[in-house]
């Protein structure tokens, strides 16, 4: 009897030791070995092994034997053009919220098979069911963030708390603005209290008026040049993304950050799979891999934007844990609004207004005067030489 019982107990114990294998039942991905995966991501948006960080793509290739073709884009619109041309088949893309809404509307995304993405359970509740993908069938959030106002404490007289600081005459020639229409108009619209997704023509007209008023105060319209200009004190005020402020602060501790009281733009970049992807299973495997704790922490540390991953926020390896700029508490949390996909006429109108501002906004009077004076001088000289030649010929 005793032996029988001890045999049973041993058998049960043995079975219990195999439970870990069943608990995280890993699907077998060896059939994907040797295939290729085309990933299309923003530039500098993944931990790539520089400065001693983890090289995420290499790690994935090592673990699963799948080769990654990694290419980059710098704007949602250019990524959309590449995708729509039909010339290149990407397996994983990482667009922003309003672009995802557009892609879903045009039926360019494939539904995700979440049985291949069990790590999705780590995404926080507040980043699920967002407007662009209300049923969470197409996307998995990658990074989130907000736009705010960066200022140089030694160059401003008092700490700003409103977007109006960018219209302050005292800082003429020391103000920077976004060099793309959506973000620039977004700031003007927040300042005027409009919705950043308004479709009313009067709202857009008011916004362009305000931007044109600001034009002579702005030293330049920038995207990545903002880093240099703020770091070496060339400019006093600039709007940019919260995570990028942290990078600038490393080089120049005189800088400070504030979320203006009128409200800011809140964005989510999410991973999705285009409809014409050739290696969908590997793509889902890649997305799941990005959600693993070690990988997500490495990415969050590298990119410096806020993360929607619950394990990262609690991890001790996360350098930016509790950072108030990225994760403002209830008291300091700003009003936020996400960009939505504008309809065709509004987009055209916005682009037309932006061109008006950028191309015709600048008075080129000096250039015209200089050019015409030079042209007159050249003509006078040529005529003089011609007359001299004729005189000389007349002598013979």
């Amino acid at each position: 009897m005793k032996r029988f019982f001890s045999a049973i107990i041993c058998f049960v114990l043995l079975c219990l030791t195999t439970i870990p294998c069943f608990a995280g039942e890993k699907k077998d991905y060896s059939h994907l070995k040797g295939t290729t995966l085309n990933v299309y991501n923003w530039g500098e948006y993944i931990s790539d092994g520089s400065d001693g960080t983890l090289d995420v793509n290499k790690e994935f290739e090592k673990r699963y034997g799948i080769t990654i073709n990694y290419s980059n884009y710098e704007s949602n619109e250019n990524m959309y053009n590449k995708l729509q041309s039909g010339g290149a088949n990407y397996d994983v893309i990482i667009p922003s919220d309003y672009m995802i809404a557009k892609l879903i509307e045009e039926d360019m995304l494939a539904k995700l098979d979440f049985s291949n993405i069990p790590n999705y359970k780590y995404i926080l509740e507040k980043y699920r069911g967002l407007y662009y993908d209300p049923d969470d069938t197409y996307t998995v959030p990658y990074t989130v963030g907000m736009v705010g106002l960066i200022y140089n404490t030694t160059m401003v007289e008092e700490a700003p708390d409103s977007w109006g600081a960018l219209w302050d005459e005292r800082y003429k020639g020391e103000i920077l603005m976004f060099n793309n229409p959506r973000d620039a108009f977004g700031i003007a619209q927040c300042y005027l209290g409009q919705s950043i997704n308004t479709e009313s023509v009067e709202d857009w007209d008011k916004a362009i008026e305000v931007l044109k008023e600001q034009n002579h105060l702005v030293s330049s319209y920038v995207m990545d040049e903002v880093f240099n200009k703020m770091e070496n004190g060339e400019a006093a005020l600039a709007p940019y993304y919260a995570g990028d402020f942290l990078t600038m602060y490393d080089t120049n501790p005189d800088l400070a950050f504030v979320y203006p009281k009128e409200g800011v733009n809140f964005f989510v970049d999410a991973m999705c799979i285009p409809k014409n992807a050739e290696n969908k299973e590997a793509a889902e495997l890649y997305i799941n891999f990005m959600l693993e704790e070690e990988i997500a922490v490495a990415n969050a540390n590298y990119i410096c934007y806020a993360t929607p991953h619950s394990l990262v926020l609690e991890s001790d390896d996360y350098d930016l844990k509790g950072e108030p700029v990225l994760y403002p508490d209830e008291k300091n949390a700003p009003k936020t609004e996400m960009f939505e996909n504008l309809d065709y006429e509004t987009q055209n109108y916005m682009n037309m207004l932006w061109n008006e501002l950028k191309i015709e906004g600048n008075s080129n009077l000096d250039a015209y005067i200089g050019l015409s004076v030079t042209a007159i001088l050249i003509i006078v000289y040529a005529v003089y030489k011609f007359i001299k030649k004729k005189k000389r010929e007349a002598m013979y």
Partner: protein
């Protein structure tokens, strides 16, 4: 007898050189920056050169750029030389000028027009065979050959005009087949033009951004595209290290080639000007 250049002339030349090379000098200086910023020089270090060799995506992009440049410049030089020889031999004036006009089109066309046109063409042809994802190395090479061809032809044609028109006939009189006459007599004479056409094609290919942007595919990202994709966040300083290395490599190559050609020139003039 060399004319003595005045002080004003020397000063002007110096200013022109400073204007041309100041950005490159700043680039080289900041490639040795120990900090991440490109505006504040924090200290001297070789950190970014180490980083460059760990940045797999940039190195892949650079490798792609080099491979496309070498392959496309060789193909376009061969095609261009053949085309130039044929164009030179045309007797019909109308045909000659119309062919020259057609070859000049890729050169005169704004690059963005060529880029979009080629992308649409490749997708269209892919669509005819029911394939998507046609953009890749092959399409990039074809596009690069297309816009390099006019430059090669324009480099080789003047050399053809310079060589004695009866050289090829004389060689055939002495027993060469027409092909041998070309290969052994005409080709060495026009070789300087071919070499300069090759180098021009190579430079244009490495430098090209707009056409490559539209025509590259999932695995064929070239270096300019990679650098441009960083402009939303920040171009990392290991790009400066890469640019410095490219600049030094090309500088050394040019110096060597100049030394060789000047030695050859000295040798020829010493022999009493028998060769030309």
């Amino acid at each position: 007898m060399t004319k003595k250049t005045s002080l004003g002339g020397k000063l002007y030349t110096a200013l022109v050189f400073i204007f041309l090379y100041a950005p490159i000098a700043v680039l080289i200086l900041f490639s040795f920056n120990s900090g991440k910023s490109t505006a504040v020089f924090e200290g001297f270090s070789l950190h970014w050169y180490e980083e460059l060799f760990r940045d797999a995506a940039t190195l892949t992009a650079f490798k792609n750029s080099l491979i496309i440049a070498v392959v496309s410049s060789i193909i376009s030089t061969v095609m261009g030389t053949a085309a130039a020889t044929a164009i030179f031999g045309y007797k019909n004036k109308l045909l000659k000028t119309s062919v020259m006009t057609v070859t000049n089109i890729p050169m005169m066309n704004p690059e963005i027009v060529t880029g979009i046109a080629m992308m649409l063409l490749f997708v269209f042809i892919g669509g005819m065979f029911g394939k998507t994802g046609t953009l890749g190395f092959t399409t990039l090479t074809i596009a690069h050959v297309t816009f390099e061809l006019p430059y090669v032809i324009l480099n080789v044609l003047p050399k053809l005009k310079q060589t004695d028109a009866h050289l090829s006939e004389a060689a055939q009189d002495l027993g060469c087949t027409p092909f041998q006459a070309f290969y052994k007599v005409v080709l060495p004479a026009i070789m300087p033009g071919i070499i300069s056409g090759l180098m021009m094609a190579f430079t244009l290919s490495i430098d090209d951004f707009i056409i490559s942007y539209f025509v590259s595919g999932t695995s064929s990202q070239t270096l300019p595209i990679r650098i441009f994709s960083m402009t939303k966040r920040r171009v990392t300083p290991d790009m400066y290290a890469l640019s410095t290395l490219i600049f030094l490599a090309i500088l050394i190559l040019l110096v060597i080639s100049n030394v060789i050609s000047s030695r050859g020139y000295k040798k020829n003039t010493k022999k009493g000007g028998a060769k030309k």
